[in-house]
Amino acid sequence: MIILLMLVPLLAGLSAFLISDDGRRRGLLVSASALHLALTILVFVARPEIIPGDWFGLDALGLLFLGITSVLFFGASVYAVKYLSFEKYDPGEDSDEGFIFNNQPEAVFIGCLLLFLSAMTAVTVSRHLGMLWAAVEATTLLSAPLIYFHRHKRSLEATWKYLLICSVGIALALMGNLFLGAAGIKAGAGLDLESLLSKAAALDPAWVKAAFLFLFVGYGTKMGLAPFHTWLPDAHSESPALVSALLSGALLNCAFLGILRAAQVCAGAGLAGFTGDIFILFGLLSLMTAALFILGQRDYKRMLAYSSIEHMGILSLGVGLGGGAVYGALLNSVAHSLTKAGLFFVSGVILAAYKTKHISEVKGLFRRLPKTGVLWLAGFFLITGTPPSGIFLGKLMILKATLAGGHYVAAAAYLFFLAVVFAGLGRIFLEMTFGEAPQAGTSGKLPGESRQMLIPAACFFVCVIILGLYMPGWLSDTIAGAQRLIGGAV
């Protein structure tokens, strides 16, 4: 079953390179992702047993992230059909600078997209840390061509930064893996997660600490924690909307999973206090960075990217605090993924209509694109954690745990940065939705609002609102199970 989860997108991706008909290729994309989603639901219903020593298996943590990835990818594939057909007739003119560019061949794009899904699935089901590493690096390599879909200078620059910074970062994570291996040489632990966890107490603590630092910096680079985040705003702003959505909602979580696996081993070795401090420090640092750069932001896709950094900071902070905050962080990661993907989908519609990413040139969304405007504003309220929203619940749980643990400085900083982000985002979103629509460009053939491109975002938003009001039992059980794995048992 688990092998099938990786195999379906892998085979579909490979065959996408061979199919020459656009319609059939897009059909393949949607059907493969629907099949992937169906398989994911099946493993949610009846989770396969983990066989010790197997490279692949699903625990609650992997299952949670697999679920997020699969749902997001299905939404993105529905969005992609319409998006790609628009792109086909787009002259490919960059409005901000007015140069002409080509798009990547669609076969390459869809093929890489599906292979990317396969790699992300492999990350969530890996039980061997070496395999996990290989899968994370594969996600980097497969998503680089996706960022370079619009072939022009800026996307090339973004691709290069992404490729190099993430590859170097992940190379450090490989070193972390080897250090972890060195820590377990005496105990004969290897790099298999099961045996590492069962022999965690016998690991050499100095090596485990060094290993965690390398793994944290390595996967943290990919996850977008400050100060290793420098590739993230560029890659998110230059890639097509659906790729940004997948990067932000699914890929960052996969990288986080790498850190969480390391934290699991550390907790087993009795080093939870050490990892906790690091998580809290870099969590707050990411929140601060995001708040600073959101305030003066001029590009709305970069703004969304910084908001992702903010949320990665919140996840890190929550996991660092432990206890109930871990539950809040995991809930936040589900809600953030859905909301942020939805927002990126909407931003793609805005970009298609206004032909610019400058905030100052997008005005009067309500008048010009009413449905898009409503969704854009709804997304703002959800992402900033206005109740009812799953993000609100997650943030509240983390705040509660911060206060209960006596981390008053951290709590004050957390609240302050959230307030700054709220104010910064609020200004931008309101500026864009209200006011008069610009006269120029409103005539002529405009893509306007495509229902197919808005429905995935609307569905995601509804899910997030439902999460804020009612938590289904199966999801709550999965999150609680994942929380126990990370060592956040209350």
């Binding site: 600078e97 290989a134 090339l156 490989l174 080897l178 750069f293 400058h358």
Partner: protein, 225 residues
């Protein structure tokens, strides 16, 4: 006997770090990094006593093929295709580079004393050599102008990691090792393609010119090329 050979290899790797830091010719740098990778790949053959296992032989020969033949070939091709200048164009002087390198080696030696290796390996200086090599890689990435030198830096970092992994030969299934190597191969391949695109799009491969996307120069927004 084996231990002595292994220690000689470690010394050679450290010396190659220093020569990478001072070498001004791009072609020489490519060769030095390749030599370092090949020398490091001999390490697993010396691990353990008696004849090396077949697993170690397969692994070593794959690494030698990749780092000694394929990578230098890919990089040289990228250099020729991109019509790059022949020197590495450093942002800092070579004396500064070598002082940084020596400083890194001192720091790495101190770290090495804090992380004692298990008794199974008797080879000295593995941890310092490995960390110093990683640092040299970072030095190449941050202080040299060309995209190719950045890939080279990435490869040197990989070499540093492999010095550690190979000398210790941490227990990993062969499949996992090969998956990791495949990733690294594809990484270099994709980076090579990207360099080609950069040279076509920008007419050069100097990465310090790749600075259009930044939040530090908001006044540049919308400015034409």
């Amino acid at each position: 006997m084996h231990t002595t050979t292994a220690e000689l290899i470690i010394v050679a790797i450290i010396l190659l770090d220093l020569s990478l830091a001072v070498s001004g010719s791009l072609a020489a740098c490519i060769r030095l990094a390749a030599a370092q990778g090949v020398i490091a790949a001999i390490l697993p053959l010396l691990a353990g006593s008696g004849a090396p296992e077949s697993r170690a032989i397969i692994f070593s020969s794959t690494v030698i093929l990749l780092k000694g033949v394929i990578f230098p070939w890919l990089l040289t091709r990228a250099r020729v295709k991109a019509n790059a200048r022949k020197d590495v164009e450093p942002f800092i002087g070579y004396p500064a580079s070598i002082i940084l390198c020596l400083g890194a080696f001192a720091a790495a030696s101190w770290l090495g004393t804090r992380l004692p290796l298990p008794e199974t390996t008797r080879v000295a200086w593995i941890v310092p050599a490995s960390l110093a090599t990683i640092f040299t890689g970072f030095l190449l990435i941050t202080t040299r102008a060309k995209a190719i030198t950045q890939v080279l830096g990435y490869l040197v970092i990989e070499n540093g990691i492999y010095v550690f992994g190979l000398a210790l030969f941490v227990e990993q299934p062969l499949m996992v090792e090969l998956a990791i190597l495949l990733d690294i191969f594809v990484a270099v391949f994709v980076m090579g393609i990207t360099i080609f695109h950069i040279s076509r799009e920008f007419d050069h491969i100097d990465t310090d010119e790749l600075s259009q996307l930044s939040d530090w120069h908001p006044q540049r927004d919308g400015e034409a090329e």
